[in-house]
């Protein structure tokens, strides 16, 4: 009997293969993030000190908007030829599909971050004055918060007429606590003025709660008409 981990692996491998061949998500995310970095760097001319203060917000807003592009793509692929119905009629558990999509989106957004972070550093003259080792932790927890909710709400808005609009409408309000934690934690690490620990714990708790809730509810979303 196939288990959730083995089906998650199979679905993830399939999604990575499809993305490798089409490059739909990664190309649009990269293009969008690049635009944000370049346009913002021309719009403002901050000092290094100011950059450290605003970079947290700037970086995460850019990644949030870019992630929305990937999140829409991930389910649009399942709607072409109605392939999602093939999953729905199979005995495979819904959670395996959800986890594979979340992990896939996490990988896409992480690749984007790895490519874009050097550009942010160069364009905004960034240097961490606080504990820099906490930055990857914030990045991982923050990205997970975005993709777990994003994947869930993208699935929910799948059958709505204007899903590109519906996803941000559903996702952004519920992501505010996570976004606040990401921005504050990143700002704290970059400026070194205060500890980021509270925000990191908040982010971890947010991830835990929303991952469990999404896993619990995804079956209903998948089987809904």
């Amino acid at each position: 009997m196939s288990t959730v981990p083995s089906l998650t692996r199979a679905t993830l491998a399939k999604d990575l293969r499809l993305e490798w061949r089409s490059k739909d998500a990664i190309n649009s995310m990269l293009f969008f993030s690049l635009l944000v970095v370049v346009i913002f760097s021309f719009s403002f001319d901050p000092t290094a000190e100011e950059s450290r203060r605003i970079a947290g917000g700037l970086v995460w807003v850019a990644f949030l908007f870019a992630a929305v592009v990937a999140l829409n793509q991930t389910w649009a692929r399942e709607m072409r030829n109605q392939v999602l119905d093939a999953y729905r009629v199979s005995p495979a558990p819904p959670n395996a599909l959800f986890l594979a999509k979340v992990i896939g989106n996490f990988i896409f957004v992480t690749v984007l971050q790895a490519l874009m972070t050097p550009l942010f550093i160069v364009f905004y003259n960034l240097r961490a004055l606080g504990p820099a080792y906490q930055l990857p932790i914030v990045a991982a927890l923050g990205t997970w918060a975005l993709v777990v909710n994003g994947t869930f709400f993208a699935a929910m808005s799948l059958r709505t007429r204007s899903r590109e609009i519906m996803l941000p409408l559903l996702l952004f309000p519920i992501s505010i606590p996570a976004l606040l934690a990401m921005v504050e934690a990143t700002g704290a690490i970059l400026t070194g003025e205060f500890s980021a620990k509270f925000w990191i714990v908040l982010l971890a708790a947010y991830d835990l709660v929303f991952t469990i809730a999404s896993l619990f509810l995804f079956g209903f979303v998948l089987q809904a008409e």
Binding site: M1, S90, E225
Partner: protein, 230 residues
């Protein structure tokens, strides 16, 4: 002593008072029917008669507004979905992957043992080449239909639900598909075929089920009997 008779065969599918409404529009209006196992049913009717909705309800994709469906002795369709094969009007295949890659993935969902061999077998059964590396998106419409049928056969289902399997398929290929379906029926599978090309199933289908305005209006063993009344 009375002559020994065959034990009564319990129906493979029982539909009772099935109603499906989309807003104020009733796609199915109190459909009740029993379908015996090991038979090939052709479901016919005009566009909007409710054929596809009935098939989707049987597949568990469209929850009924009212009424019940019992399949293979249970009304918990989720528990028998592994014994169901479903082919829809769209291909239900990923355009960017080859036929073998597609079927390999779906074989994992159904926990098919010896999956490479099984995938190659069902692809050959629909007269396609398993070694074809081209992505499905580059197939002709007819090839895509046949690959879609191969996907539905992958888990060796007891019940096959096929929506327009012959559309955009050339006549020779369609006849080959019918021959494959009758062969499957003879092995005990229950097959439902929604089609507008009823003549293809003449002599092959055990029963023609006619639908109109969300209801089953007639069930005839041969096509001509019903056509004469129209």
């Amino acid at each position: 002593m009375p002559p020994a008779s065959d034990p009564p065969v319990s129906p493979a599918v029982i539909v009772t008072g099935l109603v499906k409404q989309f807003g104020r529009f009733a796609a199915l209006r109190s459909v009740s029917a029993e379908f015996a196992p090991g038979r090939l049913y052709a479901i016919l009717g005009d566009n909007g008669a409710g054929k596809t909705t009935l098939l989707r309800a049987l597949a568990g994709l469209t929850p009924p507004t009212r009424g019940t469906i019992s399949m293979l002795g249970t009304s918990d369709l989720r528990s028998v979905c592994g014994q169901l094969g479903y082919m829809a009007h769209p291909s239900l295949l990923y355009d960017e992957m080859s036929g073998m890659e597609n079927l390999g993935y779906f074989a994992r969902l159904y926990d098919v043992s010896n999956k490479d061999q099984r995938c190659a077998d069902v692809i050959r059964a629909v007269k396609l080449d398993p070694s074809l590396a081209r992505p499905v998106g580059q197939y002709s419409q007819g090839m895509r239909q046949r690959m879609s049928l191969a996907r539905a056969l992958l888990n060796d289902p007891k019940i096959l639900l096929l929506d327009e399997p012959f559309s955009n398929v050339d006549l020779r290929s369609a006849r080959e598909m019918v021959s494959l379906l009758t062969g499957l029926r003879d092995t005990g599978k229950t097959i439902f075929v929604v089609t507008h090309q009823a003549s293809l199933l003449e002599g092959a289908a055990d029963e023609f089920v006619w639908m109109d305005a969300g209801q089953i209006v007639s069930r005839t063993p041969d096509l001509a009997a019903r056509l004469e009344t129209l």
